[in-house]
């Protein structure tokens, strides 16, 4: 309670103008629209360049041949899926501490997006596993960790939907995602440990630690592209959520009127 008071005071003094603006739905809607206007094309360009470079021009792996190219989807998706959870938990924490409604919107919007990226990572991992390991699903440490991450995301989504009072839902999910954030490193470490206990020698992913620059650069580009893609998805989802929550307000009403007249 006391810590929260102090924190709120500091925020009130130092960052009031910024927070005040972030707390305003029309402002957030407008600024996210402006960001998306240049972010969407940039994301698209990055994705196309990264994909063409990685899938067509980078050299084939000497052991895995061409199948390793799934890495250009798999690795960025996994990286962003994990980062997404931290974005969600951070937004939840901001909502709990400073009671910022827009952080709640961000958290609510991040959960399904993060879950989708996690699913993409798992799916691409399975597709990659078939030619590499000979099975669609192998209980590899990373695969297992990603699966648990997906469960954590789905838990947040399920909890949010279970509450009728959406303000309570946001706070409950914030607590849950913070608990998950504390647990993710523990889960990752323990799954690593578990895997090294059980790992048969035949299943080993080679060529990961020593990656050639000709493969690394397109990978880095794809990771950047996926981060941008995540941001775009998050912002778009946030805008939908904003419109839904504010549907009875004046600014959404006039916005709808303007959009309709544009279409007509």
């Amino acid at each position: 309670m006391f810590v929260r008071r102090i924190a709120r005071c500091i925020i009130a003094v130092a960052m009031w103008p910024i927070f005040h603006k972030f707390g305003s739905p029309p402002w957030l809607y407008a600024i996210s629209g402006a960001i998306l206007r240049w972010m969407l094309p940039v994301t698209l360009i990055l994705l196309v360049i990264g994909a063409v470079w990685g899938l067509m021009f980078s050299p084939a792996d000497f052991r895995q041949g061409n199948s390793y190219r799934i890495m250009y989807i798999h690795v960025p998706a996994a990286v962003v899926a994990l980062a997404g959870y931290y974005v969600m938990a951070l937004a939840g924490a901001i909502n709990l501490i400073w009671r910022m409604k827009m952080a709640d919107v961000a958290m609510k919007a991040a959960a399904p997006v993060g879950a989708a990226f996690t699913f993409l990572a798992l799916f691409s991992g399975a597709v990659w596993g078939k030619p590499t390991w000979g099975a669609w699903w192998v209980w590899d440490a990373r695969v297992t960790s990603m699966l648990i991450l997906l469960f954590l995301y789905l838990g947040v989504v399920a909890l949010y939907e279970a509450f009728d009072n959406k303000e309570a839902a946001g706070k409950a999910c914030a607590v849950l995602s913070l608990v998950g954030m504390v647990n993710i490193p523990i889960i990752y470490k323990s799954v690593d440990w578990w895997y090294s206990l059980h790992q048969p020698a035949s299943i080993k992913l080679t060529g990961e630690s020593t990656i050639d620059p000709s493969m690394l650069y397109p990978l880095l580009l794809m990771i950047a592209a996926f981060y941008a893609l995540f941001t775009c998805c998050l912002l778009l989802n946030m805008r939908v959520e904003l419109l839904r929550r504010e549907s009875r307000t004046h600014w959404v009403g006039s916005l709808a009127k303007r959009e309709c007249s544009d279409v007509l």
């Binding site: 009671r99 009072n165 303000e167 309570a168 706070k171 009875r248």
Partner: protein
């Protein structure tokens, strides 16, 4: 906690505003409860009486605007009696989760006698009626040392004698320098001033 008790309110609310489901229940609700006052919150069903009591006692912490300052230990009795069916009335009171004191056996017996439950001290509560559960809960009023009482529909499911007894208790508490904020639909018959807070009109009178 500090300051002159005559001048500082036990409970102060500043511009409370509550919106539920797009409907504004009350706004700019500011009032101060001083020692020796009895406040009755009035309003139709759905006017926000229970919500207001829960905001005042601190159970509601979000979903409203404004601020509540409470300068006194408080006793809150809500709709649910907080009585465990598997425990006896004596155990329910002596081991109450609110932790509001260590009561001797004689204190508990006299409190239960005051609410008309003498002879029932050691029977399991699941054999008692709903009204008797509420009476076990009301016995806490006789045990509590809190100056500020927040009571949500204290007369519900209580028979006529019980209501009279309770009104006497409220008067005595207010006269002794306590304060009561309560919701009720019926007119109080007490020997002290009653201040009304009408939620329909949204004004303190």
């Amino acid at each position: 906690m500090s300051g002159d008790p005559a001048s500082s309110p036990l409970l102060a609310s500043q511009s409370l505003c509550l919106i539920r489901g797009g409907r504004e229940l009350f706004r700019e609700l500011s009032f101060e409860v001083y020692a020796g006052q009895l406040w009755q919150i009035e309003g139709l069903n759905g006017a926000g009486k229970t919500s207001l009591i829960r905001i005042l006692c601190g159970l509601s912490r979000f979903g409203f605007e404004g601020e509540v300052v409470c300068n006194s230990p408080l006793l809150y009795l809500g709709h649910q009696p907080a009585v465990k069916a598997l425990l006896t009335p004596r155990e329910n009171l002596s081991w109450h989760v609110s932790g509001d004191g260590l009561h001797s056996n004689t204190q508990i017996e006299s409190a239960l006698a005051r609410v008309g439950l003498s002879g029932y001290e050691d029977v399991p509560c699941h054999t008692l009626s709903a009204g008797q559960h509420r009476r076990v809960n009301l016995a806490r009023l006789f045990l509590s040392e809190a100056a500020l009482w927040l009571l949500d529909e204290p007369f519900a499911a209580i028979d006529k004698e019980g209501v009279d007894e309770l009104q006497t208790l409220l008067t005595a508490h207010v006269k002794a320098g306590g304060a009561v904020v309560m919701t009720s639909h019926q007119a109080l018959q007490v020997n002290c001033d009653v201040r009304f807070l009408n939620l329909g009109a949204g004004v303190a009178a």
